[in-house]
């Protein structure tokens, strides 16, 4: 076997890294093993075999018959042109639009990676905070409008519609006009 690091000399030393209690073995030659620095843990290292976890789970490498039944793998992101299958294989998104393109499949992926969680509950950028606020206002005005129409209070409904219209304009000029289905 050849050293994983220099890819030149034969391996002499096996270094075991422990992540999440699982052992990952790496094989190095004597020279390279010496340079393994005790204080240099790779902070940005992906969790253990992320790609493998995803692809096994989506049955891409192992189960070919299943693969044909599943369609999501051919879904393609229009911006970076990656397919869902490419995303799974690399374990990375090609661009932010991938999230939109693979939206239906993603909750399953995230649930696996984040202890069952699929929804963001943390910080919201200021601009999005305003957008979200506007959207919620518009939604509640629309509900009121429907109620007004239901009781045939058309003057009130028309007034509410104007308000909705104004807010929608504001939303558009806010520049963050994203994913309004």
């Amino acid at each position: 076997m050849i050293c994983e690091n220099c890819k030149q000399r034969p391996t002499k030393v096996t270094v075991t890294e422990i992540q999440n209690g699982e052992h990952v073995q790496r094989h190095y030659c004597e020279e390279c093993a010496k340079e393994f620095h005790p204080f240099h843990l790779n902070f940005e290292q992906d969790p253990l075999s992320l790609h493998q976890l995803l692809s096994n789970w989506f049955g891409i490498t192992e189960n070919k018959q299943q693969e044909q039944k599943r369609q999501p793998q051919t879904v393609t992101c229009s911006s970076c042109e990656w397919t869902f299958r490419q995303f799974i294989n690399k374990g990375k998104f090609g661009c932010a639009s991938c999230y939109e393109s693979f939206r239906e499949q993603l909750p399953d992926v995230f649930s696996k990676l984040h202890n069952g969680n699929v929804k963001h509950v943390g910080k919201i950028p200021g601009a999005f905070g305003q957008t979200l606020h506007l959207k919620k206002q518009i939604e509640s005005l629309r509900t009121l409008m429907r109620t007004a129409i239901g009781i045939e209070n058309f003057e009130e409904a028309a007034r509410l519609r104007d308000e909705v219209y104004a807010l929608e304009k504001q939303l558009e000029s806010g520049g963050e006009n994203h994913d309004e289905h």
């Binding site: 270094v15 422990i18 010496k34 902070f43 690399k90 202890n115 699929v118 943390g122």
Partner: protein, 366 residues
């Protein structure tokens, strides 16, 4: 500030022996991953997109000095030699990924090297803050402040459901990785780490160590960080890590006490031998130096070794790495020569400190 300053200086602000629990927690690190909307991620974007992202992000950081409360220096990665890139990696100022990158990447460093913002690494923006000791809230506050300033001027890729959109699905959501580096010699010596690691991993946190031959982590250094970034707020992520860290500290303290109570002489013998090796050896491998550094550090914590400053040990830790050694030697070194040079460096550093103590500049008498 001149790039040479960052390359030659081995003393960094996080090395100061300060912050809470500094005897066990060496440093605290916060990282935020962010991307701009309108540009593909670095894995798939064009040269032109790379340039535009680089320009847009660095312009904000270089212009907003007052609000940022720090001055940034801009360093273009492409313009650095391989050795200089390695030195920045060894100082934790850039990631290996950015160092090996072929695209237009750069890093902005604060003067005290506590903050580094990498541009076009795996994500467009990676904000990183390193503080000495256990200071999760302090490090978060600084990273969050920089994030606030950036978001005012740059359009972030964000989604109501998924939060901050990142290239790796393990960062999606808060984009926050918080981590503490801990020195746990007594838990390691008493074979308790395996059990602790397996408990922690079930709580959505990761423990990493690098293991050589046998079951002991090199240098007895472990890094504990959060794994989950979705479904948990930043505050909760930090609170959980804080509480786990405090529990580990408690266990380490108990183990140290038990060792002193039951094996005092054997322990003392081991620690003083290691001090002897560091101050007298003529050849020192990384592994041996790591083990001895851990022992001497423990000796200082236990009040046994008195005339060595922990910040000197922290500095040696960075300095003993291959890139730094070669930078210092001003020539490329063969592995054998590195061991020789490393031993020389330790003798010099620890000796210098002893002399200062003799002159009474800094005394550690109890």
């Amino acid at each position: 500030m001149n790039i040479e300053h960052f390359l030659n200086n081995s003393v960094m602000s996080w090395m100061a022996f300060e912050g809470k629990y500094a005897d066990i927690v060496m440093s605290t690190r916060i990282r935020l991953a962010r991307n701009l909307t309108g540009y593909r991620f670095p894995l798939s974007f064009s040269e032109n997109e790379a340039l535009q992202v680089d320009k847009a992000v660095s312009a904000v950081l270089l212009d907003e000095e007052a609000e940022l409360e720090t001055t940034f220096s801009y360093i273009d990665i492409k313009g650095l030699s391989t050795l200089n890139r390695q030195v920045l990696v060894e100082k934790h100022l850039i990631s290996p990924k950015l160092a090996n990158s072929e695209i237009n990447g750069s890093v902005l460093l604060s003067d005290n090297e506590a903050v580094s913002v990498m541009i076009n690494e795996e994500d467009h923006i990676r904000i990183q803050c390193i503080f000495p000791g256990l200071q999760l809230q302090e490090a978060w506050r600084q990273a969050n402040n920089i994030d606030d300033i950036l978001e005012k001027q740059l359009p972030y890729a964000f989604d109501e459901q998924f939060g901050y959109l990142t290239s790796c699905p393990t960062n999606t959501g808060t984009g926050l990785r918080s981590s503490v580096m801990m020195h746990l010699p007594a838990l390691t010596m008493t074979n308790q780490m395996n059990r602790i690691v397996s408990v922690i991993s079930r709580l959505g946190l990761v423990v990493r160590g690098i293991y050589g031959e046998g079951s002991k982590a090199l240098g007895n250094i472990y890094q504990v960080s959060n794994q989950t970034t979705l479904g948990k707020s930043e505050e909760d992520i930090l609170t959980d890590l804080q509480s786990i860290t405090e529990q580990i500290i408690e266990k380490e303290r108990e183990a140290r006490l038990a060792l002193m109570n039951t094996r005092e002489n054997a322990l003392k013998d081991r620690l003083y031998r290691s001090l002897g090796v560091l101050t007298h050896a003529r050849l020192l491998s990384t592994e041996e130096a790591g083990r001895c550094l851990s022992d001497v550090r423990l000796g200082i914590d236990l009040g046994l070794i008195k005339n060595i400053n922990v910040s000197i040990l922290n500095e040696c830790m960075i300095f003993m790495q291959p890139g730094f050694l070669q930078k210092y030697a001003d020539t490329s070194l063969q592995p054998e020569e590195r061991d020789e040079f490393r031993a020389k460096m330790f003798r010099e550093r620890l000796q210098v400190k002893n002399n200062i103590d003799d002159e009474g500049e800094e005394t550690h008498d109890v």
